[in-house]
C-alpha cells in the first residue's frame, strides 16, 4: 500500500498501531499524528535527498553535466556560433580594368570585411560559388565607368549565395555600403556635394558593438539549464523504473510529494552550480557585462529551474525507460527551448500560431530575463512579469506531476 493512501486514511480513521510501525506509539491522537508525521516526513525527505546526492556524486557523468557541459556549450556558443560576418570571401569580376574600377576594388579590399579575389571573367567564380568557397561575386560590367551617374542598375552586380540567407543579406548590405562610400568619395573629389541629404545615425543600446555573442551567451545559459533540469530529472526517475529500484522505493513509507522533493532538491543545486559556472565563465571569459543584480539573476534562475525540473519529473512519470525519457525530454523541452525562446530565431517573424505557442515555452521568459539582466540591468517591466509567469508555470507543472505520479507497479 502506498503511503499516500495511508495518509489519506489516517485522516479519516485512526489506524491501528500495527499499520504505522514507523511512528511513536503515542501518535494515536490526530494532532500528534500530524506533528510526528511531519518530523518523519522531513527525515524521509532528508534521506531521499541524501540518496540522490550520493548517486549524483558517485556517477561522474552527473558532474560532467553540471561542470563540463555548461563550459563546453558556452564555449561553443561564444566562439562557434556567430552571425557577425567578419571576413567575406568575395570574388570581384572586372570585365574592363581601368582606374575607376581599380579605385572601387581598392575601396572594397581596404575594408576589414572583405577578402577579395579578382578575375576578369564571371565564369571564373562559378565553381567557387557552387562549392561555397566564396560568399559572393561582385561584377563590374565592361561599361562600368560610362554607366555611373546615369541611374543605371547594370553597372555593378552582386551575386550572393542564397543558400545562406543571412550571410547573403549581409554581403549585399556591405557591398552596397562600400559602393555608396565610393560614390561619395568620388563625388567629393570631383567637387560635388559629398554628404547624402538625409543620413541615419544608428545608436545601439545595451550592445553598442552589435556583437552577436552578447545576445547568444545569455540564451545559451538558458538552454544549458533547460537541458540539465529536464534531461537529468527525466532520466533519474526512469532509471529507477528500468533498474527495478523503484520497488525498493515503493516499499519505503515515502509519499509521492516526498519522493518528488527528494528528486528535485539535489538536481536543483546541480542546476545552480551549473548556473554559477556559466555566469562566471560568461563574465570572465566572454567579458559579458552583468548590469543587473545578483538577486534578480537568482530569482529568475530559481523560478526557471523549478519549471525545468518539474517538467523533467512529469516526463519521467510518462516514460519508464531512459531512452524514451531522453527522447521526450528532447522533444518537449530542448527543441521548444531552442526554437521558441527568441534565443536564435526571431519570434516576431514566425507565423501567428507559432507565436502564440511560444507564450507557453518557459525558456522564452528566461532568455528574455537573462538578456535583460546581463545587458540592460534590473528592468522591472521585463523581469517581474517573466518571473511571475515562470513561477506560475512551475506550480502548474508540479501539480500535474503530483496528479500523474502513480506509485504503483502495474
Amino acid at each position: 500500500m502506498s503511503d499516500l493512501e495511508t495518509l489519506e486514511r489516517t485522516d479519516l480513521v485512526p489506524q491501528p498501531p500495527s499499520d504505522r510501525k514507523f511512528e511513536a506509539p503515542e501518535s494515536r491522537a490526530r494532532p500528534d499524528i500530524a506533528v510526528s508525521d511531519k518530523g518523519g516526513s522531513m527525515r524521509r525527505m532528508r534521506a531521499l535527498i541524501r540518496k540522490e546526492m550520493l548517486q549524483i556524486i558517485r556517477d561522474p557523468s552527473s558532474l560532467v553535466v553540471a561542470v563540463v557541459l555548461p563550459l563546453l556549450l558556452l564555449f561553443l556558443f561564444g566562439f562557434g556560433v556567430s552571425f557577425d560576418v567578419t571576413k567575406m570571401r568575395v570574388g570581384v569580376v572586372i570585365e574592363n580594368p581601368n582606374p575607376e574600377t581599380e579605385m572601387f576594388l581598392a575601396s572594397l579590399a581596404n575594408t576589414p570585411f572583405f577578402q577579395v579575389r579578382v578575375a576578369h571573367d564571371r565564369r571564373a567564380f562559378l565553381d567557387d560559388l557552387t562549392a561555397s568557397r566564396i560568399e559572393g561575386v561582385v561584377i563590374l560590367a565592361g561599361d562600368f565607368t560610362q554607366r555611373i551617374g546615369r541611374g543605371d542598375t547594370v553597372g555593378v552586380q552582386i551575386i550572393t549565395d542564397g543558400t545562406d540567407p543571412n550571410t547573403a543579406s549581409l554581403v549585399n548590405a556591405y557591398v552596397q555600403g562600400a559602393w555608396q562610400t565610393w560614390l561619395a568619395q568620388r563625388a567629393l573629389s570631383s567637387g560635388l556635394q559629398a554628404k547624402a541629404l538625409i543620413s541615419t545615425e544608428p545608436r545601439v543600446w545595451f550592445n553598442p558593438e552589435l556583437e552577436s555573442r552578447r545576445f547568444l551567451v545569455p540564451g545559451s545559459i538558458a538552454l544549458i539549464l533547460m537541458m540539465i533540469g529536464s534531461l537529468l530529472t527525466a532520466l533519474v526517475v526512469a532509471r529507477e523504473w528500468e533498474r527495478g529500484t523503484i520497488e525498493a522505493l515503493l516499499a519505503t513509507p515515502a509519499s509521492v510529494p516526498e519522493f518528488l522533493v527528494g528528486k528535485v532538491v539535489p538536481n536543483f543545486f546541480l542546476g545552480l552550480l551549473a548556473m554559477a559556472i556559466s555566469v562566471g565563465f560568461s563574465i570572465f571569459v566572454f567579458d559579458m557585462p552583468l548590469r543587473g543584480s545578483i538577486f534578480s539573476l537568482l530569482a529568475a534562475t530559481t523560478a526557471f529551474l523549478l519549471v525545468a525540473l518539474s517538467a523533467g519529473l512529469l516526463i519521467s512519470t510518462v516514460a519508464r525507460t531512459q531512452f524514451l525519457a531522453s527522447q521526450i525530454a528532447m522533444m518537449a523541452s530542448f527543441l521548444p527551448g531552442l526554437f521558441f525562446s527568441g534565443f536564435i530565431f526571431e519570434l516576431s517573424s514566425m507565423p501567428a500560431p507559432l507565436r502564440a505557442f511560444s507564450a507557453l515555452v518557459p525558456a522564452r521568459y528566461f532568455v528574455k530575463s537573462l538578456q535583460t539582466i546581463f545587458l540592460a540591468g534590473d528592468i522591472a517591466s521585463v523581469l517581474v512579469p517573466s518571473i511571475l509567469i515562470l513561477s506560475f508555470m512551475s506550480v502548474v507543472v508540479m501539480a500535474l506531476t503530483w496528479r500523474n505520479s502513480k506509485m504503483r507497479l502495474d
Binding site: 562557434g80 552571425f83 552586380q157 552582386i158 538625409i198 552589435l210 531512452f323 516576431s348
Partner: protein
C-alpha cells in the same frame, strides 16, 4: 553474410523497434523538427514593432513616416509624444527600434541642407537590430532620393542584387534540406550509443559475449541496423522535403546517397566509439550529447563556418556533419557536380575508417 550475423541484425532491429512508445519516439521527433525548421527557424525580421518619435511638425517628416507605415517589415508603429516614453518602451522590448526625427527636419530638407535621423536599436537582439537598421536605412535613403529627384539629376547608381540558388533568400529552402544531415546524425548516434549501453546496464551484453559471435561480428551486428535506420531516415526526410515542401532536388540523388552512406558510417563509428567508453545509459546519452552539441554548432548549420575564429575552423573541418551539410545543400539547391561532392566525401570516408577502426579496437580490448 553468415546467418548468425543476420540473426543478430534482426535482433537489434527488433529491440530498437518492438516497444510502441519507442517507435513513436523514433518517428515523431524527426517529423516535428522538420516542421519546426520549416516554419520557426528564421532570422528574418518581418513583424517587428518599432517606434517613431517625431519632433518635427513639417510635411517632410510626415511623408517619411508614411513610408514606414507602408513597409511590411514592421508590425506596429508606436508614436511617442515625449522623449521620456522612449526608454521604457525599449527597455521592456515593446519596440525593437525607434526612429527619432529631429525638430529642424522639414526646414533643412526644404533648404537642401544635410540632416540626420537618429535610429535607436535594442542591442539585446543584435542580429535583428542590424537587419532592422538596414531596413530603416533603405527607407530613409529611398525617401532622400525621391526628394532630390525631379529637380536635378540624381547621382545615384543602384546596384543590381541577385541571389543564386535561392533567389528569395528563404530560410526554409536551406534549413529543411539540412535536416537530412542533422536528424540522421542525432537519431543514428542515439540508437547506437543507447543500444550498446542498454545491454550493458541490463546485463544482456554478457549473453551476447557467450554466444558464438566474434567481437567484430557483434560490432557489425550493431552497426548495420544503424546504417539501415540512417539511410531510411535520410530517404524519408528527402521525400518530405521534395514532396511536402516542394523544394526540388536539383542534383543527382545518387550523389546524395553516396554522401549519406559515408556520412552515416562516420556517425556509426563515433557512436560505437562513445559506447565503448561508457557503462550506463545516462553516461551514453551524455556522451552522445557532448558530441552532438559541438557537432551541430560547428557544422555551419545555424551560422556559417567562415564566421568562426580562424583557430576553430580546422576543428569544424574534422566534423563529418560540416562536410555532409555542404553536400546536402549543394545537391538540393545548387546542382553540385560529383567532382565537387567528392571533395567533401573523402574527408568523411577518412573519418569513418578512423572511428570504426578505433571503436573496433576499443571494443575488442574491452571484451577480451
Amino acid at each position: 553474410m553468415p546467418p548468425k550475423l543476420i540473426a543478430l541484425i534482426i535482433k537489434e532491429l527488433l529491440s530498437a523497434f518492438h516497444d510502441p512508445r519507442t517507435r513513436i519516439a523514433f518517428i515523431v521527433p524527426p517529423i516535428m523538427q522538420v516542421f519546426l525548421y520549416a516554419y520557426a527557424a528564421t532570422l528574418e525580421v518581418t513583424n517587428a514593432p518599432i517606434g517613431v518619435y517625431n519632433e518635427d511638425w513639417g510635411q517632410s517628416s510626415r511623408q517619411l513616416i508614411s513610408r514606414f507605415e507602408k513597409a511590411s517589415a514592421f508590425s506596429t508603429i508606436t508614436y511617442f509624444k515625449s522623449e521620456k516614453e522612449i526608454q521604457p518602451a525599449i527597455d521592456s522590448q515593446g519596440v525593437l527600434a525607434v526612429v527619432r526625427i529631429p525638430q529642424d527636419f522639414s526646414r533643412k530638407i526644404a533648404a537642401r541642407e544635410p540632416v540626420s535621423v537618429q535610429v535607436l536599436l535594442d542591442g539585446r537582439k543584435s542580429n535583428s537590430a542590424q537587419i532592422l537598421n538596414s531596413y530603416i536605412n533603405a527607407i530613409v535613403a529611398n525617401y532622400a532620393v525621391d526628394v532630390v529627384l525631379g529637380e536635378e539629376r540624381p547621382d545615384v547608381s543602384a546596384v543590381l542584387d541577385r541571389s543564386w540558388f535561392n533567389p528569395n533568400r528563404e530560410y526554409r529552402n536551406t534549413m529543411v534540406p539540412s535536416l537530412v544531415g542533422t536528424l540522421t546524425m542525432t537519431t543514428v548516434l542515439m540508437v547506437m550509443v543507447m543500444s550498446v549501453s542498454r545491454e550493458r546496464e541490463l546485463g544482456t551484453f554478457e549473453q551476447l559475449l557467450v554466444s558464438p559471435l566474434q567481437p567484430l561480428e557483434i560490432m557489425i551486428g550493431k552497426a548495420v541496423p544503424g546504417l539501415i535506420i540512417g539511410v531510411a531516415l535520410g530517404t524519408a526526410i528527402t521525400a518530405i522535403v521534395t514532396l511536402v515542401f516542394g523544394i526540388p532536388l536539383t542534383g543527382s540523388i545518387f550523389v546524395l546517397y553516396a554522401g549519406l552512406i559515408v556520412f552515416t558510417l562516420a556517425i556509426i563509428g563515433v557512436g560505437l566509439f562513445i559506447s565503448s567508453l561508457v557503462s550506463t545509459q545516462q553516461q551514453a546519452m551524455l556522451g552522445a550529447m557532448v558530441y552532438m552539441m559541438p557537432a551541430m554548432m560547428l557544422s555551419g548549420f545555424t551560422s556559417p563556418v567562415q564566421n568562426m575564429p580562424d583557430w576553430l575552423q580546422p576543428v569544424a573541418l574534422l566534423n563529418p556533419l560540416t562536410h555532409f551539410l555542404v553536400i546536402v545543400r549543394g545537391v538540393f539547391l545548387r546542382d553540385m557536380p560529383m567532382a565537387l561532392v567528392a571533395e567533401r566525401i573523402w574527408p568523411m570516408a577518412v573519418m569513418a575508417v578512423f572511428t570504426l577502426t578505433a571503436a573496433s579496437w576499443l571494443f575488442r580490448r574491452k571484451l577480451g
